[in-house]
Symmetry: C2
Subunit: 185 residues, 2 copies
Amino acid sequence: MGKQLRHHFGGGDLRAGRRKKGSFYYFFKSKSELTAAALEAEWNKNKANMDALFSPTVPPLERFDRYFDYVHDHLAELQEKCGSILGCPMLSIGSEVSTQDQGVRATVERIWDRKIKYFESAIRDAHAQGLIVAPDPQAKARALFACYHGTLAQARIQNDVELLRDFKQAAMDVLGVKHEHAASS
Amino acid sequence: MGKQLRHHFGGGDLRAGRRKKGSFYYFFKSKSELTAAALEAEWNKNKANMDALFSPTVPPLERFDRYFDYVHDHLAELQEKCGSILGCPMLSIGSEVSTQDQGVRATVERIWDRKIKYFESAIRDAHAQGLIVAPDPQAKARALFACYHGTLAQARIQNDVELLRDFKQAAMDVLGVKHEHAASS
DNA sequence: ACCAGTCTTGACTGATCAGTCAACTATTAT
DNA sequence: ATAATAGTTGACTGATCAGTCAAGACTGGT
């Protein structure tokens, strides 16, 4: 019904950055599908890095140490660029939409399970070497993961990366590191 | 400009539950002010309960035990009523708006500081009694608090209260409880 | 040249959101 | 009784949101 008559109006109702969103729906059928795809893409981008940080060639407790350092540095860098701490995107997104968007929720859970596996095998290795006491590596991994995410959330809300520095000690406590084996940072 | 002529239209643009929001702004000048007020009100409602749970008459490690039990039971109850875990409202709200709404952010931080004081004094008492080693009770309290919130967030996203049950062990590890003093739940 | 498939465009819909407002009603003090 | 004060109402604004759509542009194959 005469849409061709309207092209000469300046696009008054959409601002500059918004004009091209039409083709978005050619690739994603919904916003929530994009969210899930973005989280998966993020994971793929980081996987090689995680593999390196948690390489079996690194002493198990040092893996955590390096990982926590890496995340700290990464978030500190982002903080400089954009003024505020981003925290863990999956936690932020997850706690916002998990009750309304099952697709995104399932994606977050799936990726978390994969991340926890790194923790789990490092814990198992540490236990095997007698560095810690962890008869149930999976439970310990989940607990440590939850603690870490709590710290990330706090750091985000208080906009203070230094909370992540303090976490290393708590992590060693959660792991049950015997004092004489503590990895120095 | 003739608003009195419009009263005979059925309120077409507002649905039933929405009709009376006009007077809201008589009491609050913005939505964010309501949010902050609601969080403060929640705190006031719970304060007496916190005081009882963390009463100095209770052995220090048992305070945590009772507190974690209380939160678990409370969330389990709410889950039955509304189908999904609510987690900690301050964490959910905080991680959603903390970068955009300084008023709410400050309120969350303020209330958290108050809550952390309960943890801190329990930790100090436990340390004094030789139950744990905690030379810096405030740091330990903050670490435990962060870990707990991480677990709450996970529980919410995975919609599973049982994660809170498992937290007790992690809490004892974070606290550095000497084995022979562990409080039984 | 022309056709089919791939991709882009921006105006459009309809819903919802935070917030405003002038007119109205209820309460209270005098 | 009356006047001031406190509180209520719902239509209204303007912004933004997720999502649709018909029209067109770009591509490679024949």
